[in-house]
């Protein structure tokens, strides 16, 4: 089961290492991790998707809270929240199949951001499920390269 945590941390050097080190030292699995500054430049937010059961989640939350540089841990799984992910997907297709890829992009409100003789690159945003669905479709054409940001999330309202 995946749980989404939003973790506010001091915007110091070394904080990312403390958090990622905690996960490896305690044997917790991270599905994705996204870090950036918040509206307050002294605070960063880490959106962490954790794979595990409730007992593991409980330990993860407690252990994160124990880190001195962690200001607040919010469990978004417990609350109504918005989540988005961005993906860049480079598909290997020649000019003949290009049209089909562009149609897929249109249906899923993606954008074509680059075209070459052998490839076409799409930009996709949405929740994780939607990105997974598009990626699954594109696999049939041969994905050359892909980069995903991992999930970012906010509580609604």
């Amino acid at each position: 089961m995946n749980y989404t945590l939003s973790v506010l941390v001091e915007n110091h050097f070394g904080v990312l290492a403390r958090v990622s080190g905690l996960f490896s030292a305690r044997g917790f699995n991270i599905s994705s991790l996204a870090v950036a500054e918040t509206e307050d430049p002294t605070v960063s937010v880490m959106t962490i998707v954790v794979d595990g059961d409730e007992r593991i989640l409980d330990q993860v939350k407690k252990q994160l809270n124990k880190l001195i540089d962690v200001i607040k841990v919010k469990d978004l799984s417990e609350q109504d929240h918005l989540s988005r992910e961005l993906a860049l997907v480079k598909v290997g297709v020649d000019s003949q199949k290009r049209r089909e890829i562009i149609e897929i992009a249109d249906v899923f409100k993606g954008r074509v951001v680059d075209i070459s003789h052998e490839t076409i690159t799409l930009e996709l945003t949405g929740d994780t499920k939607k990105i997974d669905a598009v990626v699954d479709l594109l696999k049939a054409y041969g994905i050359k390269e892909m980069a995903r940001t991992g999930k970012v999330a906010l509580v609604r309202g």
Partner: protein, 570 residues
Amino acid sequence: MILNGSRILIESLKKEGVDTIFGYPGGVVIPLFDELYDEKEINLIHVRHEQGAAHAADGYARASGKVGVCLATSGPGATNLVTGIATAYMDSIPMVALTGQVVSSMIGSDAFQEADITGITRPITKHNYLVKDTKDLARIVKEAFYVASTGRPGPVLIDLPKDVLTGKAEFLYPEKVEMRSYNPKVKPHQGQIKKALGLIAEAKKPIIYFGGGVILSGAAKELIELVRKTGIPCTSTMMGLGGYPADLADPLYLGMLGMHGTVFANYAVHHADLIIAIGARFDDRVTGRIDEFAHNARIIHIDIDPTSISKNVVVDVPIVGDVKEVLKEMLKDIKLVSIKPWLDQVQEWKKANAMAYQKSETEIKPQYVIEKLSEITKGDAIIATEVGQHQMWTAQYYQFKNPRKWLSSGGLGTMGFGLPASIGAKVAMKDELVITVAGDGSIQMNIQELATAISHDINIKVIILDNAYLGMVRQWQELFFKKRYSAVLLEKHVNNKSTGKYYPDFVKIAEAYGFWGKRISKPEEVEKAIREMIAYPGPALLDVLICKEENVFPMVPAGANLTQMIGGLA
């Protein structure tokens, strides 16, 4: 006032009440040692190895309750502290470790004696800092001492690049700490206290299981009151020894539980219907096989660290808070519980399974040495140990009457801890008798610290329970590996036969360092020799040749539950 970084550091340490630093000099910290050269208010104890500095600072902290401070240079100096820092971390000991670092501009360039010590120590410190600017130094020292000594205590490391030590800044020591991300919870939740009291009132077979948290929070008095007022029997972890006066004639005291605990403590925990865990963390050496641990019991768990709760066992009533604060709250409303049948049962177990060992007239039994030591010192000396059989015999047979007298590496199990820890303890508690009980294996891990004791006139006593083996490993090899004694012999053998010669000769070593030294091998010499060692007006070492293949019993083998003990003498 504009001062250089080294002076700012020293003035900040003084503001924190630091009177002693255990340190070892080296390249990048020469400017700091230069400032310490004529500093009158700080006693610089010059150890002989950085690991000794860390353990000495740890021993100082355990014995006094104050924050211990150690200091080393960059690179190998800093990495030599690592075992000592990890030892303090596992046992929640407040400590500040200061390390030199190469000049800021060279960090990351694989400079001479450079090591990424904040990276290396991240998982074994409560927090650590790399100081980037001399003007941040005072604030960081203030925070470091606050973090080390509050909440669940632990070591904090401050890494000091050379230019931070030599740079100049205005010295203004902050009045208070402002950290939005660190607010340890000390006061317990009242609702949880009520729930706990409810469970206690209902219990038919309750037991109190307490640990190092009682010592760290200074809650021995409250614990004793809780036990006496409720009439609930108690058992101690190894780290908790001294939290309740050790006296097995006291019907409410069951001694230590766990792997080498008493049979009756383990039976009582196994059959209890309520476990009140106080400042203890359900370590695997305590619980034995976890899925069979206290399977009929509900559990109340009092601990300052929320991560300790429901980590190894599921808890019914967690109470997060400082043990002393929690117990004070509970004591307001506590009553005697009526559990006579349970107490009778516990007494029966106690009678049938008393701690005992096979006595001998010809060989010295290690348990006998500890019994005599306990008797002679009235259970009130500060005893530091190394790790192994001697440590367990001391835990079992020394009757600790008070807290902060038992200094032993519980969590990490660090051989080499005891000798330097006793040096630190003696520096902190000058008027107390401080004794290291060591094995002949572990004493050699930091034996160079004998020189520290001599050069600083630190009057410690050392007893070596000498069986010419790494005894605990040998015991496991005897019991679980068909007596294949792999790499545990500490004497010279020719064609698998003992030559009877010990290497090294500890008496000669003691004398070479300037210690008083003596060796004994007969039971009738024990008492006199211990008295002689204590009476000697300076550092003294007693090498006691003990029965070679004595085992630590009783024992719960790894993976067994607490009732499956072997080697009781019942």
